[in-house]
Symmetry: C2
Subunit: 187 residues, 2 copies
Amino acid sequence: MNSLREKIMAFYKTHRRMPSYGELVKLSAYKTKSAVHYAMSKLIDSGFVSRDKTGRLIPRNLTGSVRMLGLIEAGFPSPAEEELADTMSLDDYLIKNKEATYILRVKGDSMIDAGIYEGDMVLVERGKNPKPGDIVIAQVDGEYTMKYYRQRGKTIYLEAANAKYKPIFPTNELKIDAVVKAVIRQY
Amino acid sequence: MNSLREKIMAFYKTHRRMPSYGELVKLSAYKTKSAVHYAMSKLIDSGFVSRDKTGRLIPRNLTGSVRMLGLIEAGFPSPAEEELADTMSLDDYLIKNKEATYILRVKGDSMIDAGIYEGDMVLVERGKNPKPGDIVIAQVDGEYTMKYYRQRGKTIYLEAANAKYKPIFPTNELKIDAVVKAVIRQY
DNA sequence: AGTATATTAGAACGGTCGTTCTAATGTCAA
DNA sequence: TTGACATTAGAACGACCGTTCTAATATACT
């Protein structure tokens, strides 16, 4: 049935491109390209995939993208307005520098007053110069921690977003490993 | 120069597939496929792209994906361990049902004690049955709000994560539009 | 049963695919 | 300038591309 969809999705994930009609013959139960062509025409009508101007298949719904709406108060668009909703990729939106971006999982409650809880994921970028007020990943006494990057006069120090913890004034050098660019919490 | 890279990336973003060698001739300053083939061999050596077993180009670094590390305390891997880091797509990771997933921007402070601030983005899924304890987008008196979905006995009501706001007991019907699956905050 | 209709197999079409070869051109150092 | 090497143009190759046609088969309904 529609396991053809899943086959195509699986192919796309591993090969990072859409299969050709000849490859779909091997993937599917069809024995000829024309049968596949017929089946694809229906999948195209359903909006699952599209055809290039050269005829090649291009993905539509299996490419990671979300509809971007406005404020919560505005709510959801009617089916008629649905087409107007901007669709975008979270990857492209959140990640500017792919090579230097990492995701870490948060442990502890040192940034709880900044709305960053244990178990959250933080998207960090290495090799970026921190500005005062940024949340950074730093190495103090050989251990990694997440803190606010603060500046008072000429003194640089680290501050937690939790009254339980005292500010950290670096003894000698302060090694900032990465700057937190985004927080992601899943339910 | 290496604007060829950018051309390829632009092509990939718009066409959602890699260009063929013939298309690269039109894109680039080269006038023949063989020259492009030569240039691509160097880009492949640099790890920017790869070749399929059929010879077709497949993307490597321009596909949206982040390196997934462990806890913050574990820090960043050494260059030698770098290869071991799991890479993944945020889209694939966060979005289960593409058709029903939307992103909304938060206004107000009704969920502030749940670590959801004004300006944050919430990733919601429509048409999902809410469970008690879920954060939901609901329509009360014709307006959309984000609240906890609570149950006391047989009574369903909405509760804000902010002592300023009182629980909302629905007068007649309670219309739940979507369930919040993730929160994303950008700095 | 029969009869429309939907789906598949098979073959053939022109076109493009990636590859490879040779020859021409550009680049750089001695 | 000369020579060694890197890069490009051009043409040709077989293989595969998506498309289209006809004929065969499956499916659904009366």
